[in-house]
């Protein structure tokens, strides 16, 4: 998948990323050391729903599309990241992520991710993003429950 770019170039890019705003240049160098900086072509699939994968991805340039069951749920640009759930807690990918343009991306393995999560600046960005996801999911769930109760009294089976 693509080709690697130099470490200095990676650090320069990271300085522009929101999630790393709280990091020093030395910490960004550490991140660059931990990550693979890769360029992928349009149409390439970075993560596939239902598959096992434990890498964390950070988009440095370009755009990716996030789909679930073939339905587009998000479009992510530079500075966005994904794959943190799988990096933290092994499991299957809950979405497919496809490059919709040429994309420059940092790929970080689970071990390296744990090291990265210790860097306060990044750790806080990660906590914030996860808290936001959880809050959004909870709100949608509450809305779904409410709607469901209006339709029928019995909750749906939670079997999967």
């Amino acid at each position: 998948m693509g080709f690697m770019l130099t470490r200095e170039a990676t650090v320069d890019r990271l300085e522009l990323v929101d999630a790393f705003k709280g990091c020093t240049r030395a910490q960004l160098k550490q991140v660059a050391r931990l990550a693979e900086h890769v360029q992928v072509g349009q149409g390439e699939v970075l993560a596939r729903e239902g598959r096992i994968g434990r890498e964390f991805f950070l988009v440095l340039s370009g755009t990716v599309r996030v789909t679930q069951a073939g339905r587009e749920v998000n479009v992510l640009g530079p500075g966005s990241f994904f794959g943190e759930l799988a990096a933290i807690n092994p499991g299957v990918r809950n979405a497919t992520v496809t490059a919709v343009s040429e994309v420059e991306v940092l790929i970080i393995g689970p071990r390296e991710f744990a090291t990265m999560a210790a860097i306060p600046g990044f750790r806080d960005a990660l906590f914030k993003s996860m808290a936001d996801r959880l809050r959004t999911a909870d709100a949608r769930l509450a809305a779904a429950h409410e709607e469901d109760e209006e339709v029928e009294d019995e909750p749906p089976t939670t079997q999967s």
């Binding site: 499991g91 299957v92 809950n94 999560a117 749906p156």
Partner: protein
């Protein structure tokens, strides 16, 4: 603090009067007391949240967190209210409600209040003690220092990842009309 079911008692805490409400209770939590009660560090060893911590790190946890006993029936957090403390359950269980609807129940080793602790948003749910509770409370100032402890940080990350997955899975079930979430794998 724990003798009343009056919500104001707990609200006081969430307004930052934590230390005042506590008095000297912190001094007697990190030593084994004369009456043979287990020390807090020993207690923490048995809680999954702190399983990966060294004795030294647990000492740090004890230094940073406050410990509180809460009576069954007391409201610990109220949906919509401000408050930035994170709670870890050492003993007992709580019921989580949103808009009056019970959405979860947490027990020993579970935590709550993390969204407000992280984001500073109002409480997203009401949490009520289902039984007598023994909890650790981490204030907003102590949160960062607490998250410098790898075992504690990972426990929170793991817990949040799990809760996001569970919420997403449940949403999938709704999205598919309750027919069961049979994931498409190509």
């Amino acid at each position: 603090v724990s003798s009343s079911t009056d919500e104001n008692a707990i609200d006081l805490l969430t307004r930052g009067a934590l230390a005042l409400a506590w008095g000297g209770s912190k001094d007697d939590v990190n030593v084994t007391s004369n009456d043979g009660k287990v020390s807090l560090i020993d207690r923490l060893h048995g809680v999954p949240w702190f399983a990966a911590c060294t004795a030294e790190q647990l000492g740090e946890v004890v230094r940073l967190a406050e410990r509180l006993h809460i009576d069954a029936g007391e409201v610990i957090l109220r949906e919509g209210r401000l408050g930035r403390e994170l709670f870890v359950i050492l003993e007992g269980s709580v019921v989580v409600t949103r808009a009056g609807r019970a959405v979860n129940e947490w027990g020993v080793g579970d935590y709550f209040g993390e969204l407000a602790a992280i984001e500073g948003v109002p409480r997203t749910a009401t949490v009520t003690a289902k039984s007598d509770l023994d909890v650790l409370i981490v204030g907003p100032r102590e949160f960062d220092a607490m998250m410098d402890i790898p075992g504690v940080r990972n426990a929170l990350f793991m817990g949040m990842a799990r809760r996001i997955r569970e919420a997403d899975d449940e949403l999938d079930v709704y999205a598919e009309g309750g027919a069961g979430a049979d994931r498409r794998t190509e």
